[in-house]
Amino acid sequence: MSLSKQELDDFRAGVRAWFEENKPADPGFLLPQSFMEVGTDAQFYFLRDWQRKVYEAGYLGMAWPREYGGGGKPQMLQDIVTREMVRQKVPFMTNTIGLSWAGPLILNMGTEEQKKAYIPGILSAEDIWCQGFSEPDHGSDLGNAQLKAVRDGHEFVLNGSKIWTSLGAYAKYMILLARTNPHANNKYEGLSFYLIPMRIAGIEVRPIRKLTGEYGFNQTFFRDARVPESCLIGGEGNGWQVAMATLMFERGAAGGQAGGHAMMSTEVSEVVALARAAKRGGRPAIEDPLVRDQLVRFIVEERGFALNSARAKVKPLVSEYPLSIPMAGKLAMSEFQRRLNQFALSLQGANAAYYVGDAHAIDRGLWQRAYFNAFSATIGGGTSEIQHNIIGERVLGLAKS
């Protein structure tokens, strides 16, 4: 289906009006900036209601098949909605694991039954999903996952522990990577991938207090938890391939088809505004040549990300390293966010020392928290250091470290 420019403009105008009218009012507390930061019931229910509202308005999963609760419309329309959500800075879609990882995975590899069972609840936020990849002793070394899944008839018995399970306390389902064969030829071949229910005997979720002092992450313990073999996806022993496909969704190389933004990232324009308001020696900080130089560095870098996406669509301009832009996105953008938020603190003068909870903190302490939370993206999903290895090996072709 192709749409005329007029149709697209009309659609965009309708979307803009809907979000302007329906975006939620300030709840009176500091909202999280991503699904990894949901630390209180008040935050969670507020965000879940918001996702449901967006879905019911027809603005989420627009390009997913109608038979599973999607809209069956062109991806282009969903992209317009997502951009408008970012532009208006409305709260993010909290069922991120479902929308960006589990959903695309199930649509790509799942059975008809799995699609029917899981996709509608992902979109409406009725069924929250979490992710069971990392383990306490194997942070970035995903291939070395040790949580045991032992076959017992038509069931698997799970024992072990997963860490960094965001939304674990609220999740109905988990995408899980577990070891089915400890004697496989290599560590990768012994892994299998599951879509498991969370509210069963033998699974316990314990909250982890973050460096910010808040909650949002959990450790999940499995003690003889039993799941039916129908929970397998991609077949026994193929867990690594399924996990890699999922990680490509996570690292931005594919997926996101459900639409909706997952992160409220800091934009340079907000830091520029901060620099205009902040004072240095009686003058606006934005007049300081060093501040100006740094702000422009960030502006150039931020625009570079948008232009990378534009260039990635032009085949002759990415022929030398076709995978570098999609594979390096997570590394470059997460490190950028960390540096940008750090710089935002430095602009606040003495007030940089306030923290979330103090009434005098600039923007309720948003910047302090954003800087700390930025590490969740530089560490999660494979640390920046591991990303360097992966890109060096797969894009540049260097020998394994």
Binding site: L295, V296, L307, S309, R311, Y321, A399, S401
Partner: protein, 376 residues
Amino acid sequence: MADSEKKPVIAFSDEQAQLLDIAANFARDKFPLSAARARIAAEADLDKSVWAEMAALGWLGVAIPEEFGGSGLSLAEVVTIAEPLGRHVAGTPFASTTQLAQALVKAGTPSQRRDYLPRLAEGAIGALALCEPSGDWNLTNLAATATKTADGVALSGVKTFVSDAASADLMLISVVKDGAPALALLDREAFGRGRIERETVIDESRRSYRVMLDGMVVQDCYFLEADQTAAALKHLDEAACLLLAAEMCGGAAGVIATTVEYLKTRKQFGRLIGSYQALKHPMVDALVMLDAARSHLYYAAGVVGDGAEGEIAVRMAKAAAGEALAFAADRAIQFHGGFGFTYDCDAQLYRRLGLWGEARHGDAAWQRARLAELML
């Protein structure tokens, strides 16, 4: 792109894709890196036969209007040629000749355009005399003068970093005339009355000259349109930034490829050195910087000349390309170890290309200062 709800688009035509492909092959064939030192040592400023081939391919008239013998395309197409030339450290007068033509398109008198644009499209070599001993990157801060005399207009002063002056057919010279910057176009006979001296410059692929203007006497008709001169100087600066960015992007891509090849073959302590994270990780950082620089470059190629948006884009492109090449080539020298310290290692060729590119028309910090004026 000021409208943040719209994603930026990089327009790239089939024509550009074809040109990029042809130029990449041409640069590889005609300017192999293995012959870079021979090209540096050669007596002549450039291989005239290769230059004639570039003219025959139509490359010197790419951005010249069809009515003056060009292809009527734009700088966007020129960029696709400049990038591969940079990658092979070709050091031709391609960029300066193109820029000279741009100045004529912008501000030439009708007779200058009629007489000289077709010659440039056919292969006349253009030289730009815009820089002065002060080293100021602001092209309007000039000490050279043009003064009316009984015989005409006498030029006086010194111009520096005039590429290919010895082989040039035409030279564009900036001077102060009647209290304002002016641009004069001189043919060989006219600028030959001055004196030129070869300069020893950091990028040895360039043939750079110091030009003493005293003795050059011209007529009023040598000057470009006075009311267009400010715009022409601005356009020259932006076109130069764009083409330097293209060359430096090409250089960054070239030096990354060269270094990666070395890291894949060189062993130390029984292991390929590319397996060491201390080398692998900075190579990835270089790649990330190159990606951003190339994206800025091809966006800028499409919007150059488009008011403030065009200026912002080319300055960003130059800042990004300069820093990408500086980092990649600096690390390339280090990562080649002892070999990197020798003249034989190609890393130095690229590092010199980058230092030249940063010194011409403003380094990254200068570009950012201009961007701050435009954007903050």
